[in-house]
Symmetry: D2
Subunit: 300 residues, 4 copies
Amino acid sequence: MTTEPRRAVLGQNQYGKAETRVVRISRNGTTHHLKDLNVSVSLSGDMDDVHLTGSNANVLTTDATKNTVFAFAKEHGIASAEEFGMRLARHFVSSQESIRSARIRVEEYAWDRIGAPDADGARHSFVRAGRETRTAEIHHDGEGWEVVSGLEGLVVLNSTDSEFHGYVKDRYTTLPETRDRVLATEVNARWRYAGTGLDWDASYARAREHLLHAFAATYSYSLQQTLYAMGARVVEHLPEVEEIRLSLPNKHHFLVDLGPFGLKNDNEVYYAADRPYGLIEATVLRDGAEQRIPVHPARP
Amino acid sequence: MTTEPRRAVLGQNQYGKAETRVVRISRNGTTHHLKDLNVSVSLSGDMDDVHLTGSNANVLTTDATKNTVFAFAKEHGIASAEEFGMRLARHFVSSQESIRSARIRVEEYAWDRIGAPDADGARHSFVRAGRETRTAEIHHDGEGWEVVSGLEGLVVLNSTDSEFHGYVKDRYTTLPETRDRVLATEVNARWRYAGTGLDWDASYARAREHLLHAFAATYSYSLQQTLYAMGARVVEHLPEVEEIRLSLPNKHHFLVDLGPFGLKNDNEVYYAADRPYGLIEATVLRDGAEQRIPVHPARP
Amino acid sequence: MTTEPRRAVLGQNQYGKAETRVVRISRNGTTHHLKDLNVSVSLSGDMDDVHLTGSNANVLTTDATKNTVFAFAKEHGIASAEEFGMRLARHFVSSQESIRSARIRVEEYAWDRIGAPDADGARHSFVRAGRETRTAEIHHDGEGWEVVSGLEGLVVLNSTDSEFHGYVKDRYTTLPETRDRVLATEVNARWRYAGTGLDWDASYARAREHLLHAFAATYSYSLQQTLYAMGARVVEHLPEVEEIRLSLPNKHHFLVDLGPFGLKNDNEVYYAADRPYGLIEATVLRDGAEQRIPVHPARP
Amino acid sequence: MTTEPRRAVLGQNQYGKAETRVVRISRNGTTHHLKDLNVSVSLSGDMDDVHLTGSNANVLTTDATKNTVFAFAKEHGIASAEEFGMRLARHFVSSQESIRSARIRVEEYAWDRIGAPDADGARHSFVRAGRETRTAEIHHDGEGWEVVSGLEGLVVLNSTDSEFHGYVKDRYTTLPETRDRVLATEVNARWRYAGTGLDWDASYARAREHLLHAFAATYSYSLQQTLYAMGARVVEHLPEVEEIRLSLPNKHHFLVDLGPFGLKNDNEVYYAADRPYGLIEATVLRDGAEQRIPVHPARP
């Protein structure tokens, strides 16, 4: 009896330059505007040869994709993360026969202005703002578009209006029920748009605002319930959004037992724990929409 | 004309306790053994109520899943990351009617022994070893199993035997071709097993060894070629592996231009860059196998 | 000839619990207030025995110092990072004979309120604010006090009004001179107070404001000049401050060469580099004051 | 009454390029050798003008110091981190009149070879080794030298032979005494050399070995005792070392209470905690030596 030797074949593959840090300054007289992006390019197409034989005949270098990011920032400006990402994706797919699809991932960092205009009315000083990172992921295959925007690292906390009880008690359950706890999380959200001709910055601002509002306004019996309220509010108020995926680590704030010191802790003193943490993840969709945001986000 | 109000519905969802850091010490006389894991539990099932109404009647608490990790480490020991993850997954799915599937993600940290046995033959001193993290991800839905093992952060470098030329030259291409470059990457790999009754630690050691060997032995014309050689070697040498997904950041080492100082850089002095970096990703499969490892890895 | 065996002796030593994460919530009716601190305790005193023989007779456990942080948050509240740190330092030095001095390091994380009060006028929802961390380091030896406050991670950028030229040209100098560059840095500042009976939060806000103002208002010929302007402004406007130590990484924004693509980069497109970075550090003092802030900050 | 306006003056200051990542490859036939360093340069001298007026006439650019790192790697090679740092320091102080002292900080990353030589006897494949970073800090003022070498991030664990009891019990003490605990720490060490004409790599290897040996061999009643044993062993066995500063976070491994699950935890299952952590720091000196290593290490 002979054993057939095992043969390996190539599956899904993609390549590109990750994390090109481009800053674009535009001037309106003495008032400057700033766009601060981290752009990752990922391309797929006829790439069998480069994997199997090392022939680079079909390969646009990752270095060239980086150069394209910088050149496009000059040639076309950066109207928004989404618009910029779409322009890059269209370019790669339409200009290189070997490239069939492009995925552009953008992180955007926010800046506020420092102080009032100076004596000349000039405004060109900035301070990094906020703790969250705005994200946009654009996929284009030459025909269709998929635009998924989002944010990461938006940390929020309710100091009351959160209960947790009525759960399953198995052999390993020791958690006491509570009628008043701190509920804190780091909002990581990605939402998919129905179309493409949007005011992306305005839509982002609205989504962020609705997420914050729903978190604050929900009297919570579980973090799942709060998550759903946040997602549903975005889906119901933004007609341009088809679905939203939320990943919410439960940033536990444990009530410290002060009994040994003869003190009563009346929901005043908490220990903010790092690990382990609950992790609650779900998609909320417009009724009738198709779920297409992958469960796990792209890296980087 | 009236507009139908938009209605939101719940999509895919999962929850659990992430990053429970469990260390298990077992004693064989005065010789101690150590398993050092970071375990994340993620459960799915009949969870509509908790999202829609806040009822926790179907919810096993994430705190209880953490307790289960610790209790199982005592009751069953930790034979391997994979075996431990499978035991946990089976428990959650089989013991709670509302839970239909479980995903267990394990990171394992390696330790070496310090020095020789002491006067009494005792061996209970350890030093953390290696830079890579071993990973295992187990999915179980009450019937089938999926076991994906891997490693992250294995940094390797070839100081020669790497060329890069013959690529597409578009308007934005400025990279000079090279016949001798440094090729360095951080190996991030996940491989899926055909079955479950394995010596997991031995299989991991073999996969790691083949990855290193293929990286070192491949005369490279592109990182894609090296990637494929690494993946194919694992698939061809490990009959238990169906597919492997590799994500290889190109850790660029740029030759420093010493010309301005009147010096010639004969492939001696390099600048190790951080960002941006090329990112090459692909799956290599056994011919006939189905590609099931998701493109992007789970977090955490 | 015989060689005297070398003998080791104990030098400066300190110990304590680092990074106790305490969150204090206080209620004014339905309006809640939040203090979010990371407290590190470091104690010195008669600790020869514990090092030389392992006798713990003089050792207050680090666990007890952690408990004290939590208990004091209940018993005394947290008026400010500085006041809280002073209370802790006084306690450890005055209550334990073996402890001669205490150093308390506090990091404070800022939170903003989310939205307007709800229907009941309740205000108990928060979002983490800003990117900088406020710091306070208190040293007390039973008699004197040293209070050094500061901030870390305040990232700022001027998109013009920065030149760099006229520097030394040695054999290794290749940098072209410039009359218009982006100047960006991450402000890390520590300032020492002359006394202790202060409105600490107000003083912090003023220092932060003056740092931002001086950064924005200085037409800069070097980052050193900007640093000095920032430090001098704090020293000159805050009579309570004796000296300030600034550590400013030059977050280089390099103008991208777009010439190869037939494009002119008129100070529009920059590459934000990570490493290497210039690092400019200096102390600015009130004329007549003594320099006492150590060159390198304490960890953690 | 009039108030004298407050006047600011410049205190201690320094500047340079931080974190230049230089990799030097040298070839001995087909066997390659690799040095992988992260070099930070910090210079002091006649720098009043640049701070007070922005004149750069005395300023060697940080860019030129970076170039010097690369050029010296070519011109002189990298025999060791210490030798390379000394050469750089001497250059800056001796070649620029305005520069009076230089501090060079080097991090070194270790690599192992992959596998055996190939068919041609070639050896040019490497894998990053170990978790610790070797450090060297050189200070030179034109006359004297100070060389402080060290390591960071060496994580070690004893699974027994550690007790902790007999400590002070104050009102806030709740920790139970123990006769058998896990003792784990991350060794961060810096040692100062008496002279300069040494085999630096051999001395580093000896120091590391003695630290590991003393950690493993000490039956411990406190982490302070273990720290002292480690430091004393280095001082007593390395005649070239004057003093050593150790900073040891107590990486707590807490025994998990399995009682609620009807299980007994016989020192088998531990929870590896992140924060807070004990932090034990001390200097050990050769009897008669002067303590000169600063309490807190330089950054970066």
